[in-house]
Structure formats: structure tokens, C-alpha cells
């Protein structure tokens, strides 16, 4: 097979085809689709409870061209283990991939993820991280960023939004000494292609952590998902790196750090944030920047107060329909 090094080398044939039921602009669907097409037809897909279960296959229809299975929420690491064991016994050399959400990975699925990682199962585990339990209607997960509104971290009179910082799941997985861990963003496609390609070639447990914008959950406009993902990287909210056989490497570094307010102001989930909260988030980002890039942010960003800009339609996925 041709080695994929850039977007133009990516196969044209989709394995997760159009016609599925995701919201327009869904970053989750775009990421799953692109990973599936790069993994190709010789793949078995397991999806735990998540948006992908609902929009990808609803009996008697399916958007999957590859074999597909769903059973429950917390067992991606375990079911993929079983599928791979069966294929190995049957001498079938196919890729087994589990595509779970952040809830199914960071929270309820953590035990099975850790089990599979520790056993170094020969599977790819993809975490499609939209930073909350979106399939059940935007409840906080341990992937939800500081300050974000969700239905279980509402903007109340006393407490406004999520008070905890995002769990560093990729580091937790990397600490299992697995062959490959990488973070991905749909806005950085060359990097995305290279990492999926590498994950496909490596043997053993591989973990791809993807930031996937959610239109209704983030309260964003459907056309803005990719640019928001780019801003996530530019502000330090997301870092693109990989850990190959224990060696960490940053794969893309923004020239300068963009103030986090640029990222926040495009999303309704952050619009209530106080200046103090933005300062706290910015301080956390500066520390993270230093931890990942080994240096202070080159131009320590100013902190801007909350803004009152009104979004066009507050992330309603059915807007205009």
C-alpha cells in the first residue's frame, strides 16, 4: 500500500460513509471517518456507547463498510481484546480498532482501557474527545475543560461551570509503556495522517487521542469546528505530540501562544467565564505549555475580560433546517 504522508495520499474510499446521522459539522464524525478510511477495509471496528453508536448504525441501516460491533459503554479495551484474539486464532491479519468517546475512555472505560494497555493488546484505541458526555446531552466528563458549561456543571448563581481541569489521559496511557500514543487534531491534517499511518503500522497497543469539536455541546457554529481546533492548539488547550516506545516528541508547535480568549470566545460553553476564571485557565495553560514545549510561552498572553459577543445560533445543530 502507498505510504500516506499527506492528505493527497489518503484513500478516497470511505469506510464510514455519508448518510450517517451526525450533526452537520460534527468533529467526531469527521475524525472517525478519516481514521476509518486510512485504516482501510481490512479492519474491524468496535464502538461503545457514544454518539457514533447512534449516528453510525441504527438497525437496519449502517454507514460502516467494515465489520462493526457495539455492546456497552465501558468495555472498548476488553471487546477489542477479544476480537483481536479471535482474528489471531483464525490467522486473519486485520486491524482491530475501538472508537470510544471521552466518557467511555476517561471515565467509565478507564479500567478496560488500562487492562488492554497493560497487556499490550494488538489493537488501536481511538478516543474521540468532545469533552463531555455528548450523546446523553452534554454532561461533564473528566475530559471537560476548566470553566466549561455543561448540564451537570451549569452556570449557577454560586458556581459557574466546571471547576476541575481536564484529565491528562494520553499521559496515563503512555505510562503503561505502550508502543504508541499520539494526540490528533482534525485541523492539522498532515500531522493527523502521519499519526494514523504510524498507528496502523505499529504492533501492540496504540492510543490515538483526538480532539473533536461538538456543535451543540460546545455551542459553536457548524462551520467553525476546524478553526476552533486550530485555535485549541495555538492557545495550548491542545498539544500535538506522540510518545513512541516511551520517547515523547512534540509534532507541531505554534510559533507563538495565542491568548486563550481567542479560543473561548467562539464557544457558547465558555461565554459566562469571569476574568478571574480566564486568568486561572491561562495560568494552567502557561504551565502546560512549559511542560510540553520545555520553555515559557514566548509572548505571555494578556488576559481579556469576558465578552458579550452573541453567537449566530448558539450551536443548534438543526439551525437553518
Amino acid at each position: 500500500m502507498t505510504r500516506m504522508t499527506s492528505m493527497k495520499d489518503v484513500p478516497r474510499e470511505d469506510m464510514l460513509t455519508h448518510g450517517h446521522g451526525a450533526c452537520p459539522g460534527c468533529g467526531y464524525a469527521a475524525t472517525a471517518k478519516n481514521i476509518a478510511k486510512m485504516l482501510g477495509p481490512n479492519t474491524v471496528v468496535y464502538v461503545p456507547a457514544s454518539c457514533l453508536v447512534v449516528f453510525g448504525a441504527l438497525y437496519p441501516y449502517s454507514s460502516w463498510k467494515t465489520p462493526y460491533m457495539f455492546t456497552a459503554f465501558e468495555n472498548t479495551g476488553a471487546v477489542t481484546t477479544g476480537i483481536k484474539a479471535a482474528l489471531r486464532r483464525r490467522h486473519l491479519d486485520a486491524t482491530v480498532v475501538g472508537m470510544a468517546g471521552d466518557g467511555g475512555t476517561f471515565d467509565i472505560g478507564l479500567q478496560a482501557l488500562s487492562g488492554a494497555a497493560e497487556r499490550n493488546e494488538d489493537v488501536i484505541y481511538v478516543c474521540l474527545d468532545n469533552e463531555a458526555f455528548m450523546n446523553t446531552g452534554i454532561q461533564r466528563s473528566s475530559a471537560t475543560p476548566f470553566g466549561a458549561w455543561t448540564t451537570t456543571t451549569p452556570v449557577g448563581l454560586e458556581v459557574k461551570g466546571n471547576r476541575r481541569f481536564k484529565k491528562d489521559i494520553a499521559r496515563i496511557v503512555a505510562d503503561h509503556d505502550v508502543p504508541y500514543v499520539a494526540t490528533l487534531s482534525v485541523a492539522h491534517f498532515t500531522d493527523f495522517v502521519r499519526k494514523v499511518q504510524k498507528a496502523k503500522e505499529v504492533r501492540g497497543f496504540r492510543f490515538l487521542h483526538c480532539l473533536t469539536p461538538c456543535i451543540p455541546g460546545w455551542r459553536i457554529e457548524p462551520s467553525k469546528g476546524v478553526s476552533i481546533n486550530r485555535l485549541a492548539v495555538d492557545t495550548g488547550m491542545w498539544t500535538l505530540y506522540e510518545v513512541e516506545n516511551g520517547v515523547p516528541k512534540v509534532t507541531y508547535k505554534p510559533k507563538a501562544m495565542t491568548p486563550v480568549t481567542e479560543y473561548l470566545k467562539l464557544q457558547g460553553r465558555f461565554k459566562h467565564m469571569s476574568e478571574a476564571d480566564v486568568r486561572q485557565l491561562q495560568a494552567w495553560l502557561c504551565a502546560k505549555w512549559r511542560a510540553h514545549y520545555g520553555e515559557e510561552a514566548p509572548s505571555p498572553p494578556c488576559v481579556m475580560p469576558g465578552h458579550e459577543e452573541v453567537l449566530a445560533h448558539d450551536g443548534d445543530p438543526l439551525y437553518g433546517i
Binding site: P41, N42, T43, V44, Y46, V53, V54, A57, L58, Y59, P60, S62, W64, K65, T66, P67, Y68, M69, F70, T71, A72, E74, N75, G77, A78, V79, T80, T81, G82, I83, K84, A85, A86, L87, R88, R89, R90, L92, A94, Q111, A112, S114, G115, E118, R119
Partner: protein, 391 residues
């Protein structure tokens, strides 16, 4: 054939090896643990060609089993008590996905006021999970039923998972002489697994998609028909197994001295051994006692039991599960099956938390059933050998 003196857990492991199970996920839980230890030894000694997968919990054990079976290989596992409870969610994935996983359950009490000893309240409550359930009486039956279970589960008319339940410690840890069948004999009885639906990139299918109301009823109905079809398949498997090994277990249940009996008891598991002895004692005393060793809770042999109990005046059910505010599960199933037949049915609870069941206790049970057969009024539900006041 070779006779080995082995525990029930080891007998189960021999069964899995002879059945040529290929993937065995496992997690240690008393009193099941010896099963997965023994299988690990078989594999590491090169005697068994299988993958043992040490999962990090029983929930994951059943998830691995579901994945492996969906991937098209013969899959075996074992659990007990809290472990079965932790698997609960995934039991309901295996059955509707029609995956013929075989699982041994070493029966043990469940929940707080914890104990590790035998009780049926771990497996009996999951009888609505869509799994078939068979309960064995001795180590030989444990081994033989693992082999039969694969045959039944994988039959195209069935395609359902099955639990082989054995009383914890009473069987799991007690040694008995067990005939180990020749591999060739087992191979004749149990052909290679030929799954109907497999996750294979060469022929993509979707398994267990979200199913809307328009189709869910039909899916459940098909599952119901498959459980029903198992009644026939179980009988056929028992006969064919008997032809090869000389050991016949009676299919759905075994009737003992029932033909001319006026009263009888029915129950699950090792209790049947002592009950059989008590029946012999009662017969020697001229009393027309009988016994039904209930083997399957699913499929439940309702019609067959109705037929078998036509001449009885009274039937007692033995329940080794604590039942609150009423009757044990065996009673509920049996009385439901016999509703309208005019036979008095009473419930008898004993052996809770692994307490020994003595001949005297079983005689007490038969005593009550005999009295109700004579038309005397006896308590509907009796906790036997209770220390303290009944009322």
C-alpha cells in the same frame, strides 16, 4: 478413557480443554479460581491450544468473551458470585448477539453478609439474561456438561450462551473419580465451531446495532424461539453423548422413582444426591416418595414437568437461594408450570450461605410434602433447620 481423581473445578477445566476452547478470558474469584488456574497450566504445559487472557475484571472477562465469540472462535470462561454480578451487563450482550459462549459458574452466595460458600442466588437471578442454565450434581456431570454445553450452544437452532452451574466447594473443591473421555470421542461429539455470523473484514456485517422499536420485538421473539428450540437440542445431545460415553443425564431433568410416587421433591444441584438417598430410605419404609433433579432452569421444562407430575398429590420445591417475602425461584418456576394441575406445591429453603444439607433436613422436607399429599395444611414456604422461632 482414564479415571482421574480431581476437583469439580479441574473437571470443568478438562471439559474446556477437551472441547478445544480457543479463547479463555479469566479473572480469579473464589471458588471458581482453580478453573482458570488449571486452564492456564494446560496452556503453559502445551496440552491445550488456546489463548488465556487475564482480564482486569469480570466485566472485561465477559466483554473479551463476547469479542472473541463474535470473532468466530470457541470461547470459554468461568466465574462465581460477585464476579457474575459484575458481568451482569455483558450477559445481556452475549445472548441477544447469539454468541455461544460457555461459562462455568461455581455457585456461591452474593452480597453483603459475605460468604464464599455455595448458594444459588448468584446464577438463578440471571435466568432472564437469555443464557441457558444447567445445574450439575457431581464432578463427572460437570465435565460432561461443559462438552455438551458447547454442542447445545453452537447448534444452529440455538446459538445462545450457556452457564454450567456447579455448587461451590461441594463440587468445585472436592475430589472425585472422574472419567476423562478420549479426545477422539469428544471430537466425534463436538465438531469444530462453525459460527453463523462472524466479524470478518472479508464479509462485513454489523453486530448489535442500536435497534429501534420497529424491530426489537422480533429480535426478542427470535431469541425466545431459540431458547424454546434448546429443549429439543438438549435431549438430542444427551442421547448422543450417552451413545458415545454411556453416561445419560436425563436431558432437562432426571426423574427418580417417580413413576408410582405420590409425593416428590424437585430441586437443583448437589442436593439431589442426598435427596436420592432419602427417597430410598422412605421407599424402604413403604412410602411412595419420588425425586426430580431439575437440571435446566433455562429452558425451563414446564410442559415436561406437568406431564411427569400427573400422578403426584404433592410436590415440594427445594430452593438454595434466600427468597424474601415469599417463595424461592425454583418454587416460582415450578408452581407457574403446574398452575391448575391441582397438585399442592410447597417451598423448602435450605443450605443458605453454604450450610450443610443433612439427610435429616431432607427427611423433614419430605415429611412436610407427605403431609400435604395427605391433604394436611402445611406452611407454603419453610426455611429448614432455622435456628430460632419460625412464628
Amino acid at each position: 478413557m482414564a479415571v482421574k481423581t480431581i476437583t469439580g473445578d479441574q473437571a470443568v477445566a478438562y471439559g474446556a480443554m477437551l472441547a478445544r476452547a480457543e479463547v479463555v478470558p479469566g479473572f480469579p474469584i473464589t471458588p471458581q479460581t482453580v478453573i482458570i488456574e488449571q486452564i492456564s497450566e494446560f496452556i503453559n504445559d502445551g496440552l491445550m491450544d488456546a489463548d488465556f487472557i487475564p482480564a482486569e475484571s469480570e466485566h472485561s472477562v465477559m466483554s473479551v468473551a463476547v469479542g472473541a465469540s463474535a470473532g468466530g472462535v470457541r470461547t470459554f470462561t468461568a466465574t462465581s458470585s460477585q464476579g457474575l454480578a459484575l458481568m451482569y451487563e455483558m450477559l445481556f450482550a452475549a445472548a441477544p448477539t447469539r454468541l455461544p459462549v460457555v461459562m462455568a459458574v461455581a455457585n456461591r452466595s452474593l452480597g453483603a453478609a459475605s460468604g464464599i460458600w455455595t448458594e444459588h442466588n448468584d446464577s438463578v437471578p440471571v435466568r432472564e439474561s437469555g443464557w441457558l442454565q444447567v445445574y450439575v450434581e457431581d464432578n463427572q456431570e460437570a465435565l460432561d456438561m461443559i462438552i455438551q454445553a458447547f454442542r447445545i450452544a453452537e447448534d444452529r437452532r440455538v446459538m445462545l450462551p450457556i452457564m454450567v452451574c456447579l455448587d461451590g466447594f461441594i463440587l468445585s473443591h472436592v475430589v472425585e473419580g472422574v472419567d476423562i473421555p478420549e479426545q477422539a470421542v469428544v471430537d466425534r461429539f463436538l465438531p469444530r465451531f462453525a459460527p453463523v455470523n462472524v466479524l470478518d473484514p472479508r464479509d462485513p456485517i454489523m453486530m448489535n446495532p442500536v435497534t429501534p422499536p420497529e424491530f426489537a420485538t422480533e429480535l426478542r421473539y427470535q431469541q425466545d424461539r431459540a431458547v424454546e428450540a434448546a429443549r429439543t437440542v438438549i435431549g438430542e445431545a444427551d442421547e448422543e453423548f450417552a451413545a458415545l460415553t454411556g453416561r445419560r443425564y436425563g436431558g432437562l431433568f432426571e426423574a427418580y422413582r417417580l413413576e408410582d410416587a405420590e409425593f416428590a421433591l424437585i430441586g437443583l444441584g448437589t442436593w439431589a444426591g442426598i435427596a436420592r438417598e432419602v427417597v430410598d430410605q422412605l421407599r424402604a419404609e413403604g412410602k411412595k416418595a419420588g425425586l426430580i433433579k431439575l437440571r435446566y432452569m433455562r429452558p425451563f421444562p414446564g410442559q415436561e414437568l406437568r406431564q411427569a407430575t400427573l400422578n403426584l398429590k404433592a410436590l415440594g420445591t427445594f430452593d438454595r437461594s434466600a427468597a424474601f417475602n415469599g417463595y424461592g425461584p425454583v418454587f416460582t418456576e415450578v408452581r407457574n408450570a403446574l398452575y391448575g394441575s391441582g397438585i399442592t406445591v410447597t417451598d423448602h429453603l435450605a443450605g443458605i450461605g453454604g450450610r450443610d444439607i443433612t439427610a435429616e433436613m431432607v427427611r423433614d422436607m419430605y415429611g412436610l410434602v407427605e403431609r400435604s399429599a395427605r391433604g394436611e395444611k402445611v406452611r407454603d414456604c419453610t426455611w429448614h433447620a432455622l435456628r430460632g422461632e419460625m412464628e
